[in-house]
Structures are given as structure tokens and as C-alpha cells.
């Protein structure tokens, strides 16, 4: 027994610290979610300090569920996370396979590919929304204006011009609008996180057994079959890791959403929590508990799905 006691004793401080680190915030969130607790109230000053006498039961949860933004926030969270995962995994695998072959300048290309990952999220969002996606001043606006100008030129051609005048003028898309702001967020986060996927897949590809590939070549496997039956199963575990890590990170996206549209029509759960937390801590805590449940659900679901399809 004693040879077990000592290691446990030595582990205890770390384990205890981790437990405290995790359990206290979770416990406080749970506690706040069951009481009335606001930061400012002239009418009911007793609600401004947390106390069991302000017990509200599931009232905060009911309030959150009934609020008009909640369903939208859940939908948006899932839509944004799933889209980003889908795009980064596909782009990541394709780029990793592409740059895994030796070519001149490989080192430089790899460094350049990783660089978006070093940009701060808020900076990334400001750059994209102002310099790239802006309908007037951004690359998008300039490109659309250029294309329209070119079409105008074509319309001046004597006979053919008649054909081109049937074409409509292109209109730039505003990515700050209710319907499109989620798309903007997906684009900028995909750009930033694809390098992460590439990095993980690239290291994994380098450990791929070359003799297996040669055996497959002799067995008559085409390049596609080698990719499908050897490379993709080999990438199964790294894909699961990328999906898992990114799901956790992107469920808590905040800066991009704030900068693109201030949550206008494009709230996700963290943003909703932030809005509630301006005053209503109880409701914010209840939303937080919903977010915990959603995160667990997403993680388990995604891992199962990835595991099953790739590991055969």
C-alpha cells in the first residue's frame, strides 16, 4: 500500500489545484444560474448581491430559452463551427498532401502557409472586414468595380456589345449584413485556422510508411486509391484531433463576431452570454450552462462521426 500512497500524495497538489480551477468556476456558474443576480437595479437593490434568498429555480433557464436570440445563437454557433471544421479539414488535407511532395522553395512555402496562424484574431477580423470584404474600399469592392468597368468596355464593342449588355451589373456583397455576417466570420476563421490543420496533417504525412505505398503501387492502386485507402485512414487520428481542438476553440468565438457586426443577426452563445452579462448575471450563467452542454454534445458527436467514417 505504502508504495502507492507516496505517488498519490505527490500528485495531490496538482490534482487538487486542477479540481479547484475547474470546479469553483463551474460551481459558481451553476449557483448564479439558479438565483436572481443583476449588476444594477434601482428597483430591486437586493438582487445586486448573490444570495440564496434570491433563489429563482429554473427561472433563469426559462428566461433564456424564451429570449428571441437564444435559438438563433445555438443555430449560429453550430453553423459557424461546423462550416469552419468542414472547410479547414478539407483544405488542410489537400494543402498538406500538395506540399508533402518535394519541390524547390518548400521551406519558404511552409513558413508562409503557417503565418496566418500567428495573426491575432481581432486583427484578422479587422483586416478581413475592412480591407478584403468591404463592398467599397476592400478588395471585393475594387474587384467588383473592375469587373463592371471591364463589362462596360465590352458593351461598347459594336456587334458583340449587344450580347454583353444583356449581362447584369455585378453588385458587391455587404458582409456586415444580418444574412451574410456569419459567412464573413467563417471565411476569416477558416483562413486563420487552415494552417493549423495543415501543420498537424503535414507532420502526420511525414510519418506515413513509404513501403506501404510501394506495395499499393505494385497492387495496382491508382493515386486516388492510395489516397483513399492509405493516406486518409492514416490521417484519421490527426483529423479527429483537429476537429476536437477546433470545435472547442470555435464554440467560443467572440472577437470576430464583435468586429464584423456587433452581433447583429449573428450572435453565437458566447456573444449572447456577453450581452446578458452586461447586467443579468443569472441569465448569463444559465446561458453558460447551456454552452457547456452544447460543447460536450458537439465534441462527442463529432468525435464519433470522424472516428467511424475514417477508421473503417
Amino acid at each position: 500500500m505504502s508504495d502507492r500512497k507516496l505517488p498519490r500524495l505527490l500528485q495531490a497538489p496538482a490534482v487538487l489545484l486542477l479540481l479547484v480551477w475547474m470546479l469553483i468556476p463551474l460551481g459558481m456558474t451553476l449557483y448564479f444560474s439558479f438565483i436572481r443576480y443583476v449588476l444594477n437595479s434601482l428597483r430591486r437593490p437586493e438582487w445586486t448581491s448573490p444570495s440564496l434568498s434570491n433563489w429563482r429555480g429554473f427561472g433563469n433557464y426559462e428566461f433564456v430559452l424564451k429570449s428571441k436570440d437564444f435559438l438563433l445563437a445555438i443555430q449560429n454557433s453550430l453553423f459557424i463551427v461546423c462550416s469552419i471544421l468542414f472547410l479547414t479539414v478539407i483544405l488542410g488535407v489537400l494543402i498538406a498532401v500538395l506540399i508533402n511532395k518535394a519541390f524547390p522553395g518548400q521551406g519558404v512555402v511552409r513558413v508562409l502557409l503557417i503565418s496566418p496562424f500567428f495573426v491575432m484574431p481581432a486583427v484578422n477580423a479587422v483586416l478581413w472586414i475592412n480591407m478584403i470584404l468591404d463592398p467599397v474600399l476592400g478588395l471585393q469592392g475594387i474587384a467588383v468595380a473592375g469587373i463592371n468597368e471591364f463589362l462596360d468596355g465590352l458593351r461598347q464593342i459594336p456587334v458583340l456589345g449587344g450580347f454583353f449588355s444583356l449581362w447584369p451589373e455585378f453588385e458587391p456583397v455587404s458582409f456586415r449584413a444580418t444574412q451574410t455576417s456569419a459567412i464573413a466570420v467563417i471565411m476569416m476563421v477558416t483562413w486563420q485556422w487552415t494552417p493549423f490543420a495543415v501543420l498537424i496533417f503535414m507532420t502526420s504525412l511525414q510519418s506515413e510508411d513509404q513501403q506501404q505505398k510501394e506495395a499499393a503501387v505494385l497492387d495496382g492502386a491508382s493515386t486516388w486509391s492510395q489516397f483513399r485507402f492509405l493516406t486518409l485512414p492514416h490521417l484519421g487520428r490527426p483529423i479527429a484531433i483537429v476537429v476536437m481542438i477546433q470545435a472547442i476553440f470555435h464554440l467560443s468565438l467572440y472577437a470576430e463576431i464583435e468586429i464584423v457586426s456587433r452581433g447583429n443577426g449573428n450572435k453565437n452563445l458566447p456573444y449572447l452570454i456577453g450581452e446578458f452579462a452586461n447586467n443579468n448575471i443569472g441569465a448569463a450563467s444559465a446561458t453558460g450552462i447551456f454552452a457547456v452542454i452544447l460543447a460536450n454534445f458537439v465534441a462527442i458527436f463529432l468525435l464519433r462521426m470522424v472516428g467511424k467514417t475514417l477508421m473503417e
Binding site: 510501394e214 505494385l218 473503417e312
Partner: protein, 334 residues
């Protein structure tokens, strides 16, 4: 059918010529073994036949058809790799059936062939396991099964037994020989182990630095090595080779005598020496003899047991008709 002809085949990696142009013919149904020290180019040669390496010059013919430009999968060859190269995510059944699946064969037909192959290799109970759950010998068998189902015109083996332990190696050696007797298909087998070469081959090709030193049957190579390299490489323990005045007595620059062709006496003989280490194997005894004045150490092999102690005086007499003579260039003198 599977007659393989190499015609002035050579290989360069950059400026380094690993295989100078060489000619070689392997007849249909032959068991050819490429043997040589590591780095002699034997694996490269095999990979060139398989199509995994391009030729720098020359041509390869299989059944009188030039296949130099034919992709590996269309050459009708099957290869067994040293690392087995099994597909780790697939079951044994899928591994063996993979080449057939790539040929777009009907699933029933694949199942039939896979089961037949598994039956002949004693793998029938393991069909639904993954390679990670198998022992080394079983993995090797799966790799062979994957080669058999394709019904190839020739099998290529790239040091297939080097990852197995000694006991398994002997067993698999027999199984592969047995398989060759049964199927009578051409096999090319690469190894650095001359025992494997001697026991399995119809034809041994001894390579050194990409050059073929000698081609012949195992006993040819044993009894009539063409040069000093082959003499030293084939046979275990190694032939004793030395030059000097004793060699000149026999009218040669260098002479060699195998350990088993030297008679031993404690009282008199041609050469006198001192016993070093004696290795008692029960059936044989290897005695390492020092201070003969001929070379550092002479190894002799005696059938049965003999009681000698370290430091004893010992006399050796070579069997006159078993002395191999070589000229100054290391070539055999008839």
C-alpha cells in the same frame, strides 16, 4: 511463365553509379537469390525489376516483352517487403484482397480467392484481425498471401525474413521453399544471409558494389568460387584465405581452405598453431587457431567433439584437393 532478362541494366543516383551495366537471365520457374553484403545494390536491382526504381540505362524483359516503361502494377510481379508493408487499417481479409479489389474483381470471386490463399497459409482463423494483432510470422504470411492471390508470373522477396527471430526464420524459409516446389513460379529473393541463399536457391547471384561476382547453383559456388570475394562470402564459418610464401608453394598468389577441409592433429601436421577459442556446438566444434604464421586466425571445423584447451599446441593439415587457388587479381586459377 516468368522468364526475366536484364540487358545492360544500370542505375545511377545522381553521380553515383550504384549498379554498372549488368546482364542477367532468370529462367522460368527458377528460385534466384541475390546475395551480397549490405549496400551492394541487390535491393536496388530487385526494385528496378519491380518497377519501383527507374533504370538509368538498359532494358528489362519479362517473357520476351520489354517492360522497362511498363508501370509496376502491369508487370505481373508481386513483391513481399522486409517490413511486410501491410495496410494497418484493413483486416487480413481486406489486405489479401486489396490487389484484386484494385483490379475491380467481383466481390464473391475476391472472397473465394482470399479464402483459398488464407487456407494454404494457415491464416483462416485470422481473416478478421488487423495486422497489429498478429505476430511477426503471421504478418509475413499475410504479405505472402497478398502476393499469391494475384497469381503473378514471378514473386519478388526483399529480405522477407530479416525481421523474424531465428526459429521463425528457419520455419518460414522451409515454407517459402515448399511454396516454390508447389507452384513452380519464378522467385527472386534478396538476402544478405548466405545460409538463406544456400538453402533456398536454384541459382545464386553474388553481388558486390553493384557488380555480379558469380552466378551459379549453391554447390557450384561452394566448390568452385570464381574469386576471393565469393570464396569468403559463401560458406559458414568463412573460408580461411591467405597469401604469402605458403600460397606460392601451391603456385598461387592467394589460397583458401574451408574450415571443414582441414584435418586436425595434436601431434603432427603441415601447420603448427595454438588453440584460441573453441566453440562446441555438440555436432561440430569450431576451433580458432592462432600463431600459425599464415594469417591472424585460422578456423577449423571438426565433426563431433574434441577436447582441446585454450593455449594447446595444435597441428593442421589441409586436404590437398580442397585448396582453392587464386591469382594476384583474386580470380580463380583452374
Amino acid at each position: 511463365m516468368g522468364r526475366i532478362v536484364l540487358d545492360q541494366v544500370s542505375k545511377k543516383f545522381g553521380d553515383v553509379e550504384v549498379i554498372p551495366p549488368l546482364d542477367l537471365t532468370i529462367e522460368d520457374g527458377e528460385f534466384a537469390v541475390f546475395v551480397g553484403p549490405s549496400g551492394c545494390g541487390k535491393s536496388t536491382l530487385l526494385r528496378m525489376i519491380a518497377g519501383l526504381e527507374d533504370l538509368t540505362s538498359g532494358n528489362i524483359e519479362i517473357d520476351s516483352e520489354v517492360v522497362t516503361e511498363v508501370p509496376p502494377s502491369k508487370r505481373g510481379l508481386a513483391m513481399v517487403f522486409q517490413s511486410y508493408a501491410l495496410y494497418p487499417h484493413m483486416t487480413v481479409r481486406k489486405n489479401i484482397g486489396f490487389p484484386l479489389r484494385m483490379e475491380k474483381m467481383a466481390p464473391d470471386e475476391i472472397d473465394k480467392r482470399v479464402e483459398a490463399a488464407a487456407q494454404s497459409l494457415n491464416l483462416i482463423d485470422y481473416l478478421d484481425r488487423k495486422p497489429g494483432q498478429l505476430s511477426g510470422g503471421q504478418r509475413q504470411r499475410v504479405a505472402i498471401g497478398r502476393a499469391i492471390v494475384r497469381d503473378p508470373s514471378a514473386f519478388l522477396f526483399d529480405e522477407p525474413l530479416s525481421n523474424l527471430d531465428a526459429a521463425l526464420r528457419v520455419g518460414m524459409r522451409l515454407e517459402i521453399s515448399e511454396m516454390h516446389e508447389r507452384m513452380q513460379t519464378t522467385m527472386i529473393y534478396v538476402t544478405h544471409d548466405q545460409v538463406e541463399a544456400m538453402t533456398m536457391a536454384n541459382k545464386i547471384v553474388v553481388l558486390q558494389a553493384g557488380v555480379i561476382e558469380q552466378v551459379g547453383s549453391p554447390l557450384d559456388l561452394y566448390h568452385k568460387p570464381q574469386n576471393v570475394f565469393v570464396a569468403g562470402f559463401i560458406g559458414s564459418p568463412k573460408m580461411n584465405i591467405f597469401s604469402g610464401s605458403e600460397a606460392e608453394k601451391h603456385g598461387a598468389h592467394t589460397i583458401g581452405i574451408r574450415p571443414e577441409h582441414t584435418d586436425v592433429s595434436m601431434t603432427d601436421g603441415t601447420w603448427e598453431g595454438r588453440v584460441g577459442v573453441a566453440e562446441h556446438l555438440g555436432s561440430d566444434t569450431f576451433i580458432h587457431v592462432h600463431d600459425t604464421g599464415l594469417t591472424d586466425m585460422i578456423t577449423v571445423r571438426i565433426t563431433g567433439d574434441i577436447s582441446v584447451k585454450h593455449g594447446d599446441k595444435i597441428y593442421l593439415t589441409p586436404q590437398a584437393d580442397q585448396i582453392h587457388k587464386f591469382d594476384a587479381k583474386g580470380q580463380r586459377i583452374a
